[in-house]
């Protein structure tokens, strides 16, 4: 018997019970489609989060005060930690292979200009922001270099803030009041959008020293470092650590490289995708039980037919192949329709809800298809064995 004939017979049988086959395949359709939709969302979120985190560039290292240990209280409760200072940042910036250093303080303050006022995020930063965070200055210029220790009262506005405060007039050179101090606007940044829910455009940048004063702080919250991309992260990490230990006398800081962060983020997000795929897998399992049920019923319904086939010369293996093929045809039809349905749903989501990050995960789609084949085989094997084992004479007599 030729394979084409086996498949053809199986196909004819499957379509001869239209409603029953459709309902059985529907289980597979839903299972495969849900795997595709769920993994697409997982993959989309993955890509979304990673781009959010890499939009500042990738050759970044952040230094935070305090050492994360598994024992004891955090540095914030008992202050044995020597905080990070602007001087630390300057000194780090002079290291070999460090291109720029940025001491960062963040807070919230009231901004006033003429009659308008608004509360917004104030970022105390250095001159290196455009370089390190990859944000361009749209108009004017950014804070001047070499004024870290004793800076003048300059401010640079985010795109949205500039539009809110000055509308159509140019903010360049205008005076604004931040908190209790007066600042002169040096420039306006380009539009950057949101980053993990934080609006980068609704901000004002002022020198770090001014921000420390304004928020009444001794130390910066974080020092961002941009390093030469042709060097080893490990070596630079070591350099930084050595320098700060020399300055502080102990290791009371944490160094987080963008690499590390992306890697751990990546593995978390991969697990997320896997978890939603497993959820979809449950519905696939249910679909396969449907095929198992229908094939079991099919065998007991067609005992006399099996007897006839055996009488006119079908060997056991042929009967086995016939019934296995029927299960396979059912699951492949269900699988293929499911894949198309899944892709269709994903594309519709993209079209109708553009904000929701979805991305077709082809790896998972291929896996889903292979799984649908496997399910066909697994769900078909037991009934097919049962069919093949029937004794021809007894099978013929049943009816």
């Amino acid at each position: 018997m030729q394979y084409f004939d086996i498949i053809n017979l199986a196909y004819k049988t499957v379509i001869s019970h239209k409603l029953r086959s459709i309902l059985t395949a529907l289980g597979m359709v839903i299972g495969i489609a849900s795997v595709i939709v769920l993994t697409s969302i997982g993959r989309g979120v993955h890509a979304f989060v990673l781009t959010e985190f890499t939009q500042f560039g990738t050759n970044l290292i952040a230094v935070f005060p305090g050492k994360t240990t598994t024992l004891g209280l955090s540095g914030a409760t008992i202050s044995t930690v020597r905080p990070l200072s602007i001087a630390d940042a300057i000194s780090l910036g002079e290291l070999e292979n460090i291109i720029a250093a940025l001491p960062l303080v963040q807070g919230n303050a009231r901004i006033e200009t003429g009659k308008k006022q608004r509360r917004t995020t104030v970022l105390g930063v250095g001159a290196a922001v455009p370089e390190i965070w990859k944000i361009k200055v749209a108009r004017g210029r950014f804070l001047p270099k070499n004024e870290q220790a004793n800076p003048r009262a300059f401010a640079v506005l985010g795109d949205k803030l500039a539009a809110q405060l000055f509308a159509k007039t140019s903010p360049l050179g205008q005076r604004i009041r931040i908190g209790n101090d007066r600042y002169r606007v040096l420039g306006v940044m380009e539009k950057k959008g949101q980053m993990m829910g934080f609006d980068m455009d609704d901000t004002v940048y002022i020198p770090t020293a001014k921000a420390l004063e304004m928020f009444n702080r001794e130390s910066v919250m974080e020092i961002d470092l941009l390093y030469n991309k042709n060097t080893q992260v490990k070596a630079i990490e070591k350099q930084i650590s050595n320098l700060l230990q020399r300055r502080h006398g102990r290791e009371d800081f944490s160094i987080i490289t963008q690499d590390q962060m992306l890697k751990s983020m990546d593995s978390i997000l991969n697990i997320l995708t896997l978890a939603v795929a497993a959820l979809g897998g449950i519905s696939l399992l249910v679909g396969s039980v449907g095929i198992l049920t229908i094939m079991t019923v099919a065998v007991s319904e067609r005992i006399s037919e099996i007897g006839l086939l055996r009488a006119v010369g079908a060997e056991k293996a042929m009967i086995f192949k016939l019934f296995l093929s029927e299960a396979l045809v059912l699951s492949v039809i269900g699988g293929v329709i499911g894949i198309f349905l899944g892709i269709f749903i994903v594309q519709s989501i993209k079209f109708m809800v553009p904000g929701l990050p979805v991305q077709l995960a082809w790896g998972y789609i291929c896996t889903a298809f292979i799984i649908s084949l496997l399910i066909g085989v697994i769900a078909g094997v037991i009934p097919a064995i049962k069919a093949a084992r029937l004794r021809p004479l007894e099978a013929l007599r049943s009816e």
């Binding site: 018997m1 004819k12 037919e305 086939l309 055996r310 009488a311 010369g313 060997e315 021809p392 004479l393």
Partner: protein
């Protein structure tokens, strides 16, 4: 071509042993027309099942075309049935979802005959049984007589030497029964060995050779 030597067939029914065939010795030559008659429970179906290789005797020796078939395994028997034996059943045994032509084609599909030849032979067979115009009808669109004609076409499609008929008219009205018998007999005239089981005395007497079974024994050859 069919040689049965001291064939016994014993069934275990609960505690009891039923001796369905008791020392059967029978030789059927090529091209013969044999009828097997007897009351129900006499073992005629069991005899036919043994001859048709659907059942194995408990003891004895069966030689088919000079080949001892009593020791063969399941799959080997299936292959011999496919090549040598055509079945005609009382209850037709057509597959309801397939058309007449597809039903006739099945043995050839199992034998792996190429599609082209299959189509040709199905057409010929439909002409032989006078159903050219019914090729694409399904069994539920055919009359009893027509269904049995399809079954006969299926039985002869592999050009077997032996045709086994188990009460072929048992489920048909008189008129179509007669037509079917004539069709089967015409096949016998084309040198096909014909073995037929029947209750019907008149029908049985049409055969050149009549075998009568009572309680698993041949009483008349």
């Amino acid at each position: 071509m069919i040689e049965l030597e001291s064939i016994h067939r014993i069934f275990q029914v609960g505690e009891q042993q039923v001796h369905a065939l008791n020392n059967i010795n029978l030789t059927i030559k090529k091209g013969e027309y044999v009828s097997i008659m007897g009351p129900s429970g006499s073992g005629k179906s069991t005899l036919l099942n043994v001859i048709s290789l659907l059942d194995q005797p408990s003891s004895g020796k069966y030689t088919l075309n000079n080949q001892v078939v009593t020791e063969l395994n399941d799959d080997q028997l299936a292959q011999i049935r496919r090549k040598n034996i055509g079945f005609i059943f009382q209850f037709f045994h057509l597959i309801a979802r397939y058309s007449a032509a597809e039903n006739i084609e099945i043995p050839m599909i199992l034998a792996g005959i190429p599609v082209k030849e299959r189509k040709l032979r199905v057409e010929e067979a439909l002409v032989d049984v006078g159903l050219q115009s019914r090729a694409y009808h399904r069994p539920d669109q055919l009359s009893g007589g027509q269904i049995q004609r399809v079954a006969i076409a299926r039985a002869i499609i592999m050009r077997p030497q032996i045709l086994l008929a188990d009460e072929p008219t048992g489920n048909l009205d008189r008129r179509s029964g007669e037509e079917i018998i004539e069709l089967i007999e015409s096949l016998n005239q084309k040198k096909m060995t014909l073995v037929m089981i029947t209750h019907d005395e008149i029908l049985g007497c049409r055969a050149q050779r009549r075998i009568r079974l009572v309680d698993g024994k041949i009483t008349q050859l």
